[in-house]
Amino acid sequence: MGPTMMSGANTRRYRPRRSIALRVVVAAVYVFLFLPIVAVVLLGFSENISIIAFDQFTLRWYRQLIGDEPVLSALWFSVQLGILSGGLAVALGTMAAFGLVRGPMRGKAIMQTALYSPIVVPEIIIAVALLILFVLLRIPRGYIALIIGHSVLILPYVTSIVSARLYGFDKSLEEASANLGASPIRTLWEVTLPLLLPAIIGAALIAFKVSFDEVVGSMFWASARAQPLPVLVFSMLQFELTPEVNAIGTVMLTVTLGVLGAYQLVEWRRRKARM
């Protein structure tokens, strides 16, 4: 932890001069970071559309949103997609975590590189590559393509989160379980997975978020009938610019920040239960 209280006797403790300039700069950066977010939220409640600034408070755009059928079905589709591709990624990523943490040391570096490579490669390339593959395999763009593509993008995140938890897992619990008569599968079911559950839930929430916000890949893999919300929003931005996008944006932010909140809650409860 950083230096905390400065006691009189401890004046040799490193304490950078209380620099006003530093604080101002940091504050400015934070303002900069939040500016667009605040702008979107505020504009979503603003009446006047000809002036892009906050005018009069209104719920007009939200009313429009609620009646906007394509937007609602895209939203619902995104939620489903997040759950399905996230679930797939969680299953695969948990297996990957077990393989990495519990498996033999040889070749681990290569395995790790392989499992984490989708993060390193620019999204546009993955989008294009899978598009080509889908054409070659005659998988039509749409639901299946999106689930597959999203799962590939999400997999490294899940692997990382579950690995981190598994790494510090107390193996003696599993040994005790075996000693008491549980077969390896029963041990997995009765001991390992229940204790791993908070990490898995956390990973699932992250997986959902990554899928929900995914744009580039979705653009390449979606079809007219299977369109996640970000793709719809993107085309709205290119063709018709209505303040309704601000309302949609605010909804998207609410969903993902809600997920973030849920994740922090799960983490906090897990940390409490440790003791």
Binding site: G2, I37, I52, A96, P122, A129, V215, V216
Partner: protein, 282 residues
């Protein structure tokens, strides 16, 4: 038990093998193919796509522009992010957790939302111009949108957390006693920073810069929404080949060039510093 566990790697590796590795190979294969007049793809071994990239000013400039923008973004982000990382690691005490959360929140928000927010802010009728006009700093609205400036602003905004975190991680682990020792030996705080803290934070700076550079170099959304049509980045060029021109082999070649550049960067980083710093705990 180790034997059983490595079996667990099979499904995810198989999945990635089919849906990641094979596609990458497919891109490579396509990059060597050609497009028939009818719009189909003729497989073969031809380097004409790569030749075209090398000979065409449009695509060469596109690549250079992307590199240049990525460089601008990386430097700007570093300048902006370093003080934040410094403050979080070495100065902030009770506020650290709050500030951390406040850093994570924008990071978590969709890049799409953030980018189109900048459209609203930077537009001629947007927030920034109106503010500058109201204060009297300018006479007429500045053209801040649909140009390189907007793209850089948008990317910096998105990538600040990616730069802050590695630097923070490095600074946080610094042995305070080194800094105290410098102070005891008579260094002013500024010199202590320049000669002790900054050099020790370089691994974090390097990791953050690498991440920022790669992410901005290959970015699509932000330049698409905030950039101009005439001056595009690589990802936009690739997209237009696939979605507009339908010259997939050429688009594949562009993708391979992008991939090669990214991998070259990673290889250089690994040689100099070591990639395992990016993964976290093994």
């Amino acid at each position: 038990m180790t034997r059983n566990s490595s079996v667990a790697l099979v499904p995810p590796l198989a999945w990635l093998g089919v849906f990641f590795l094979v596609p990458m190979i497919a891109v490579f294969v396509y990059s060597l193919a050609t497009r028939t007049p009818g719009g189909d793809v003729a497989l073969g071994v031809s380097f004409q796509n790569y030749a075209r990239i090398g000979q065409s000013a449009l695509y060469l400039w596109g690549a250079l522009r992307s590199l240049w923008i990525a460089l601008e973004v990386t430097v700007a982000t570093l300048v902006v992010a370093y003080p934040v990382a410094y403050y979080l690691a070495l100065v902030a005490a009770r506020w650290r957790i709050v500030l951390f959360v406040l850093l994570i929140v924008p990071w978590w928000c969709s890049i799409l939302v953030k980018s189109f927010a900048w459209v609203a802010i930077l537009s001629e009728r947007g927030v920034l111009n109106r503010a500058l006009l109201a204060v009297g700093l300018i006479d007429h609205p500045l053209k801040l949108l649909y140009n390189e400036f907007a793209v850089v602003i948008g990317l910096v905004h998105v990538l600040i957390p990616f730069m802050v975190l590695p630097i923070y991680a490095t600074l946080e682990k610094l042995d305070r006693r080194l800094i105290e020792a410098a102070g005891n030996l008579g260094s002013s705080p500024l010199r202590a920073f320049w000669e002790v803290i900054l050099p020790l934070s370089l691994p974090g700076v390097a990791a953050g810069s690498l991440l920022t550079f790669i992410l901005s170099f290959g970015s699509y959304i932000t330049p698409a929404l905030l950039g101009s049509d005439r001056a595009q980045m690589i990802a936009n060029l690739i997209q237009s080949q696939f979605m507009e021109s339908f010259d997939w082999p050429f688009g594949a070649a562009l993708s391979m060039v992008l991939l090669a550049l990214v991998l070259a960067l990673l290889a250089a980083f690994n040689r100099l510093i070591g990639l395992d710093r990016l993964w976290g705990p093994r």
